[in-house]
């Protein structure tokens, strides 16, 4: 009897352990996906601090950078590194500005085929359809303690060469992303952790100026 109980308990633990590594059933994944899309629709602006950790597994090194993130619907984004160096990326509709210490780079995202394709992806993603972009990504969902984890595998070889998987950790309360991992095939990854998120605060267009 005790032996039976032990086996049942042990199998249960094993199953419990495994469940974290098995994708959620299709129905549950669709439900989570739906709530994420619904939450995304309500977002007009985002302001958030972020911490980025570049983890070099072989070298046992973690390179930490910090900055601020701003977003305004439909297509305005400011991604700004503050510490330990300054580096700024702004997307304003079809224009991209990248500013380093003494260099500025402006790109019109409509100027060539590759950027046009990327811009089309942005258009799709602003509507929150990346999780359902079956042409470019294969998505699977996992129930991971306090998160719903969505793993995206790029289907295009050009992107897959640089990125083997993208892991998005969705908060179970409000379905916003608390962190994301960009996984490389080497085992190295970059983790972005969002902190002090503020949704739908008024944000001036000046923040997104590319001039």
């Amino acid at each position: 009897m005790i032996r039976c109980l032990f086996i049942i308990l042990f199998s249960g633990l094993m199953l419990g352990g495994n469940s974290q590594h098995n994708p959620m059933p299709k129905k549950d994944a669709e439900r989570v996906n739906y709530y994420i899309l619904e939450a995304t629709k309500k977002v007009i602006t985002i302001q958030s601090e972020f911490v980025q950790e570049k983890v070099l597994s072989v070298l046992s090194e973690k390179i930490i950078t910090k900055g601020m993130f701003y977003f305004k619907k439909e297509k305005k984004l400011r991604w700004e590194y503050i510490d330990p160096f300054k580096y700024l990326i702004i997307i304003n509709n079809d224009n991209l500005l990248v500013r380093d210490d003494d260099k500025e780079n402006r790109i019109n995202l409509e100027s060539n085929k590759v950027f046009r394709e990327v811009n089309n992806i942005i258009m799709g993603t602003v509507q929150g359809t990346l999780l359902n972009d079956t042409k470019n990504f294969q998505a699977s969902f996992f129930d991971e303690n306090s998160y719903y984890l969505c793993k995206l595998v790029p289907l295009q070889s050009r992107l897959r060469e640089s990125l083997s998987e993208i892991w998005l950790y969705f908060n179970k309360e409000d379905y916003s992303v608390d962190k994301l991992d960009l996984r490389e095939s080497s085992g190295d990854y970059t983790r972005i952790i969002f902190k002090s998120k503020k949704l739908n605060l008024p944000l001036s267009d000046e923040i997104f100026s590319v001039r």
Partner: protein, 169 residues
């Protein structure tokens, strides 16, 4: 939504690195007061730099980590600001190994240049060759322990210029 945009951003940065059609506005480089002096002399553990790399009309930037591993190999990892590895190279005095290099940078001449220049930087040795293409100018500024605060590595023939500014060690 931000994660979608972040991923898109990554795509743009990845593609813009490999595209020669970008319109770039390059301000003149800051005035330099660099002077030649010895490099690391193959005797240090670790250094993290802010890095920029210009090759012809391509501009890449990010951070560069140099670290000594347990088997005394030095690994040099260059990643852009958003964390994407652009190259990961291993060096011993008589060995050179490419662990990873971003596909558009996978050029024989560039790898030879990296091998030559980084060996010279780390071990203060030059790969013996008489190829004038490999003649690179090294300049150093300031010193923190054994590590120069600023390093400039330039090859006017290949039109390659790398600027390193020490962040931590």
């Amino acid at each position: 939504m931000k994660y979608f945009l972040y991923v898109s951003l990554l795509l743009i940065i990845v593609y813009s690195c490999s595209s020669a059609n970008q319109t770039s506005i390059n301000h003149p480089a800051k005035g330099k007061t660099l002077s030649p002096s010895p490099g690391f002399n193959g005797n240090f553990e670790k250094a993290l730099f802010k890095a920029s790399l210009d090759i012809r009309n391509q501009h890449l930037s990010g951070f560069l980590l140099i670290k000594k591993t347990a088997d005394s190999t030095y690994r040099i990892v260059f990643a852009n600001e958003i964390g994407m590895t652009l190259f990961d190279l291993g060096f011993q005095e008589s060995q050179f190994k490419v662990h990873y290099i971003f596909e558009p940078m996978k050029k024989k001449i560039l790898l030879r240049l990296f091998e030559n220049d980084f060996k010279r930087l780390i071990f203060d040795i030059e790969r013996s060759n008489s190829n004038p293409l490999m003649k690179t100018i090294f300049q150093y500024e300031g010193q923190k322990g054994q590590i120069p605060r600023r390093i400039s590595i330039s090859n006017p023939v290949i039109k390659m210029n790398m600027e390193l500014t020490l962040i931590s060690q």
